[in-house]
């Protein structure tokens, strides 16, 4: 099929089998290897992408379902060479160990903060509950999302 959608802000048009898994299309055909495949059955969240701003699992979507959508992968999150605040917080908090879950975690956090800009720790845990970290680095990950959620602090008077 001829497939048209928007990928990380740019229009894409390509020829692909309509039943190609989205994770394979993104990784193998389009070279976006930030999208990881872990379990391949919706349990681990490593393949999370944003579809029209909503976190979904690219291992459980077929190419046809992308028609007309706007897709964001981890490669498209930084704007004009500046990391997204969630990415910046992951760096500052040391929320990355092996890195395999990180793209999915970051995108899940972006979705969560879009719905609830000030989540409590427990709500952060719930929001990330579809993403597994094999290194079990959850504390730092929750710390990072908590940091990203904080509004910019007003500068203190000297």
């Amino acid at each position: 099929m001829k497939l048209r959608f928007t990928l990380n802000g740019r229009p894409v048009e390509l020829e692909t089998p309509s039943d190609r898994r989205v994770v394979d299309l993104l990784r193998e055909d389009l070279g976006l290897t930030g999208v990881k495949e872990g379990c391949g059955q919706g349990e681990c969240g490593a393949c999370t992408i944003l579809v029209d701003g909503v976190s979904r699992l690219s291992c459980l979507m077929l190419a046809a379902q992308l028609t007309g959508s706007s897709i964001t992968t981890i490669e498209g999150l930084a704007a004009r060479g500046r990391l997204h605040p969630v990415q910046e917080a992951f760096v500052q908090q040391g929320a990355v160990q092996c890195g395999f879950c990180t793209p999915g975690m970051v995108l899940a956090a972006v979705d969560l903060l879009g719905r609830d800009p000030q989540p409590r720790r427990e709500e952060i845990r719930d929001g990330l509950s579809g993403n597994l970290c094999r290194c079990t680095g959850y504390q730092k990950i929750v710390d990072a999302v908590e940091q990203a959620a904080q509004p910019p602090q007003p500068e203190e008077e000297p």
């Binding site: 089998p17 309509s18 039943d19 391949g40 059955q41 919706g42 349990e43 969240g45 999370t48 909503v54 976190s55 979904r56 699992l57 459980l60 979507m61 077929l62 190419a63 046809a64 379902q65 028609t67 899940a108 979705d111 969560l112 719930d126 929001g127 990330l128 509950s129 579809g130 993403n131």
Partner: protein, 281 residues
């Protein structure tokens, strides 16, 4: 290659299905796509229903609510009518799968999959929900009991899909309760779940009780005897224990990789004890 079709409305769906009579419909794909990949299902062609615009609404229609089959679990969960009028369903949706699964999976998909562990099913049973089915010939309504015939077995004619669910919200005197016991907090398939609607008099006496358990049998399990046992009493531990004993005695669950039958029987009864929180001491 399997053709994947993506109709954006019912008229387009019926036309495509006419051209591909053996096509298998799916909604969020969280169940079917896993089974296809494992070789547990075969589909010569697929029709993805997630863009059917007519079936994505949540509306009050007379005394009932209509929940469109293609609403995702998240869309239902965030809707004020669900939280306000059907908290028993909202509580089940809140623990269904994980956030991305709730962003993909749909109410119609949960019904048509008819898993013994389907999280929306016990709430819909106690609510007395009816299922609306759509086909080119028109729409028809079935009780949930008539729709779900067994594990994975539902009443759907050729070229018929689940269009939505009709529910009459209970009155304000009815306490709505759902709890799922799983092996972890997220992405847990129910070991046992309980949905309960308890109608209390202002004095706290039970004047109506509807109970339904998930993962306790091939389909949702009801216990008219346990419901009867609660009538006329209060939601206190002795009364609840008596009902729990009835359920534990009646239930015939299975052993599987998640739990033993004996554990399921015990948990099924014990889940009733939580209703003491509505008893006011």
């Amino acid at each position: 290659m399997t053709a994947v079709l993506l109709p954006s409305g019912l008229e387009e769906l019926w036309a495509l299905w006419e051209q591909h009579p053996t096509a298998m419909p799916y909604a969020g794909g969280t169940d079917l796509l896993v089974r296809l990949r494992k070789g547990l299902a075969q589909a010569p062609a697929l029709i993805c229903l997630e863009r059917l615009k007519e079936l994505q609404c949540i509306e009050e229609r007379g005394p009932e609510l209509f929940l469109g089959a293609l609403c995702t679990h998240q869309e239902l969960l965030e809707h004020p009518l669900l939280r306000g009028r059907l908290p028993v369903l909202a509580q089940a949706l809140a623990v269904l799968g994980s956030p991305p699964i709730r962003h993909m999976g749909t109410l119609g998909g949960n019904l048509a999959t008819a898993s013994p562990a389907g999280d929306t099913l016990p709430p819909l049973y106690v609510l007395g929900a009816e299922v609306e089915l759509c086909s080119p010939a028109g729409v028809r309504r079935l009780s949930l009991t008539d729709f779900i015939r067994g594990p994975g077995q539902v009443t759907l004619g050729p070229r018929e899909i689940v269009g939505g669910v009709w529910v009459a919200p209970p009155s304000d005197s009815v306490r709505q309760h759902f709890e799922k016991v799983g092996l972890r907090k997220a992405l847990a398939i129910a070991v046992v779940s309980l949905a309960a609607l308890i109608d209390l008099t202002p004095q706290g006496v039970v004047r109506g009780a509807r109970l339904a358990w998930g993962s306790l049998g091939p389909t949702v399990v009801r216990s008219p005897r346990a419901e009867q046992a609660l009538l006329g009493g209060r939601l206190r531990l002795p009364e609840l224990r008596a009902a729990a004993d009835i359920v534990a005695d009646e239930a015939a669950p299975i052993d599987d990789l998640r739990a033993t039958a004996a554990y399921r029987r015990e948990v099924a009864g014990n889940l009733l004890l939580r209703l003491a929180q509505y008893g006011g001491g």
